[in-house]
Subunit: 231 residues, 2 copies
DNA sequence: CGCGGCTTTGATGTTCATCAAGTAAAGTGG
DNA sequence: CCACTTTACTTGATGAACATCAAAGCCGCG
């Protein structure tokens, strides 16, 4: 029974500032003991719609999509998001089961903490509770705002919106590899796959973007912004 | 300075079970001192998009709509909701200003509590915090689910959905007075006013509903459900 | 190298918004 | 309370936006 104690790496986790800022050393150590890191390869499912929620999960690295399946069997993509933006499913406190599925668009690392431990923390540490509520509210707000924004746009405005989302929010670069298929974009903005492709082709013809397979280069950012706003 | 103390009516408020279940007598009394009831007539604005959030508000009675104004100047209705479903704006902890406007669709009574007082309660009472988070999560979940549900439907499915929403969720009756204009329905489901009216007329012609001005009677509930699901 | 999935493009039809013109209903001021 | 104004509602006709279908090209993978 010598030195089984793992070093507390949570102490220096970049995620600490996001929701665990107000934990003292002892809590952080306990957190470390209750957590586990899981790796997911591109395409793997992290949470499954309908499954029981037993853990509090957050994304340490990678990229994921939140989605659900409709009665007709097709996918509705709710949002695509990076680390720190995404803290587990949003309904961990209000629902017993996952409302939506989450899958990895890129290789991802997820930190998993026992949910009852998080709930205890929440009950006993007001500042932690406040931080968590704020974070969850922000995530929900962002999803709702995004959905409303998309809804008011027409086809080309929506495609422009998605391209800008990847450029500005996800990759912060005008050149990037699309982490999703054309169909997934269609499922995200609520349009048909064929028309998403057609619009991308149109943008290419007009010199707004360049396409090399999955790689996209935004040439005329301003024009894209105008199209997105007008749409 | 004799007996200025108001009797604590919050003690028996029906709303107590919703978010204030875990407060002891003393806190309830304090709550009572920090709260104020406001009445709003049909059509009046309760919260204004962009205004600073200084109070925690919840609906005691009436009916309200949550909406925002797009850049083009038209309205997007986010949700329509009854008491107990609606606890202030959802972003009281994550935002400094209201993201959306709220207005009364029927005469409504709103209970207003100083926000800093609520924050103190939140920090010092874990169970209250948990209850509040759960409630806020539920509201957000409902909005997101509703938006996704509407998005996947076509025009007639959406109109059927709205009618069912009023029948089942809002009025719990197959006969009800529409609390919104045709245009507001259109802004809610993201369609043109003319087509909403047309669809209602079609439903009438097919004997699914009866219309007397603002009064609607759902005759064939089953059929409406089928249309809503298919849509 | 051949198979299956993703992508692309064109042709076609449906769905839906827009426009216009008219009717009903609801305020408003004398 | 009535004439007047305004706002909401209704219906038809038209065209634009978008989905669907089909066929062909591309690419990765066994």
């Amino acid at each position: 029974m010598s030195d089984k104690k793992k070093p507390c790496i949570c102490e220096n986790c970049e995620f600490r500032d996001v929701v665990f800022a107000y934990l003292d050393e002892k809590s952080i150590e306990q957190l470390c003991e209750h957590k586990e890191e899981e790796s997911f390869r591109k395409g793997e499912i992290i949470n499954h719609e309908g499954e029981k929620i037993t853990n509090f999960k957050y994304l340490k690295s990678g990229l994921v999509k939140l989605y659900r399946r409709t009665l007709n069997g097709d996918e509705q993509v709710i949002t695509i998001t990076r680390p720190f933006e995404f803290v587990s499913n949003m309904s961990i406190f209000s629902e017993e089961r996952y409302q939506y599925s989450v899958s990895a668009l890129e290789d991802s690392v997820v930190c998993t903490v026992d949910l009852t431990f998080i709930k205890e923390l929440f009950l006993n540490n007001g500042h932690f509770a406040m931080g968590l509520l704020t974070k969850i509210s922000m995530i929900n707000d962002k999803i709702i705002r995004q959905t409303l924004d998309i809804r008011q746009k027409n086809l080309i405005g929506r495609v422009a919106f998605v391209l800008l989302y990847f450029t500005d929010d996800i990759y912060n670069s005008r050149v990037f590899d699309l982490p999703v298929s054309r169909k997934e974009i269609a499922d995200y903005i609520g349009m048909s796959t064929a028309n998403v492709i057609r619009t991308l082709s149109d943008f290419k013809k007009e010199g707004i973007i360049r396409i090399f397979g999955k790689t996209i280069e935004v040439v005329d950012l301003q024009r894209l912004e105008i199209i997105s706003r007008r749409g």
